[in-house]
């Protein structure tokens, strides 16, 4: 797991958005597992990467339908969708909330739904943009617990301006400042 740390405006979100292939770089190229990303393979690669945004964002639907959205796009069977959705909700501790409207949940609960929605697609790369930024301490610790579970099954890149969080969660830390990478190494090398 890699943490991107840096002050506000250092380019963490921009970098994550480019990794999610939502934005194109103004200069340079993007490679995914050694393969150059261009118009011919962008859609396929985007299917292997998911992102959880800094602001909790959910569709105005039930928790179940939010989490199922990506699977429905893949035209999976309803039984398979249900199995995967309930499994993902179980990981984030939201199994009993499946029929609740997501907009009526607390910030922490909504963020857990967003993580489940990303998890359910079994991405190779999961990008988390300051997932605990707007949460209370209890919710933050719960999200960190979930992230620790997730990193056993996917490559995770998390943007955070909390170096202690980066130190707790990550194997590697990259430090950004004014849009440039100014250092990269273990948490001990970069933060301590």
């Amino acid at each position: 797991m890699l943490s991107l740390i840096g002050p506000n405006g250092s380019g963490k979100t921009t970098l994550l958005r480019m990794m999610a292939l939502l934005d194109k770089p103004t200069d340079g190229e993007i490679y995914y597992k050694g393969e150059k990303v261009d118009n011919s393979n962008a859609k396929a690669i985007r299917g292997r990467v998911t992102m959880v945004f800094q602001r909790t964002m959910n569709f105005n639907k039930t928790v179940y339908k939010n989490v199922a959205y990506g699977l429905q796009l893949k035209k999976m069977s309803e039984n398979e969708i249900k199995r995967r959705v309930m499994q993902a909700l179980d990981v984030v501790g939201m199994k009993k909330f499946d029929d609740r409207r997501s907009k009526k949940l607390s910030g922490g609960e909504q963020q857990r739904v967003a993580i489940a929605r990303a998890l359910v697609l079994e991405p190779e790369l999961l990008l988390l943009d300051e997932p605990t930024a707007n949460l209370d301490p209890k919710s933050m610790l719960e999200i960190e617990r979930i992230i620790s579970e997730i990193k056993k099954r996917a490559t995770v890149v998390i943007a955070t301006n909390n170096p202690f969080q980066a130190s707790r969660l990550s194997d590697r830390v990259a430090c950004l400042l004014n849009g440039r990478l100014i250092g990269e190494g273990t948490p001990k090398e970069i933060i301590d």
Binding site: R17, A20, K43, V49, R55, F59, Y69, L73, A118
Partner: protein, 188 residues
């Protein structure tokens, strides 16, 4: 709805030169007087007009086309407004979950469906209650192109007040019951 919703999606999702002008034109056309539109269409549909061969003047089809033209700016403008009130990152969210450009636009439309539904209901109410287009294009032919509004207009001039009140009550019942039903469904 068939063309208005796609137009609204295009206007709200895409950036192009003159976008603000196009949006302003649609907003301005909401206030188009129905008699003015009726006159324009009369010229187009008349035998000497460019659409004369289609024999739309004094026909139900002509009324339908006229009212469709009338309500298009209403649906477009209200739907654009509803789409632009949706968090712009919803489209990015959909894309990160595997949605294509079209699917992500539909995801945004889904978030704006209450506003879009209101636009369609308001447009239907405008169409069913308008007089100018139906009178000029339809000609108010009894049993053929006479609609509730043109019938009320005719019966008032003939002094049949009670009949007019009854027909107005029917018109109001249609408008109110549909609006009420849609509002109940929206809440669900």
């Amino acid at each position: 709805m068939l063309w208005s919703i796609p137009i609204a999606l295009g206007l709200s999702m895409r950036e192009f030169r003159g976008k603000r002008v196009v949006k302003s034109i649609f907003t301005a056309l909401i206030g188009m007087p129905t008699v003015a539109l009726g006159l324009i269409l009369y010229i187009l549909f008349s035998n000497s007009g460019p659409l004369g061969p289609f024999q739309l003047l004094y026909s139900p089809s002509g009324i339908i086309i006229g009212q469709a033209v009338l309500i298009t700016p209403l649906i477009v403008s209200f739907t654009v407004s509803a789409l632009e009130s949706v968090d712009p990152e919803i489209k990015d969210l959909a894309r990160t979950l595997g949605a294509s450009e079209g699917q992500s636009s539909l995801a945004v439309l889904g978030e704006a469906k209450k506003g879009a539904t209101l636009a369609v209901v308001a447009a239907f109410n405008r169409a069913i209650a308008e007089l100018g287009v139906a009178m000029i294009i339809g000609g108010n032919i009894y049993g053929y192109t006479q609609v509730l509004t043109t019938a009320i207009s005719t019966e008032v001039t003939m002094g049949h007040t009670v009949l007019c009140i009854e027909m107005t009550a029917v018109l109001l019942a249609i408008v109110f019951s549909l609006t009420l039903l849609i509002n109940l469904l929206r809440r669900d």
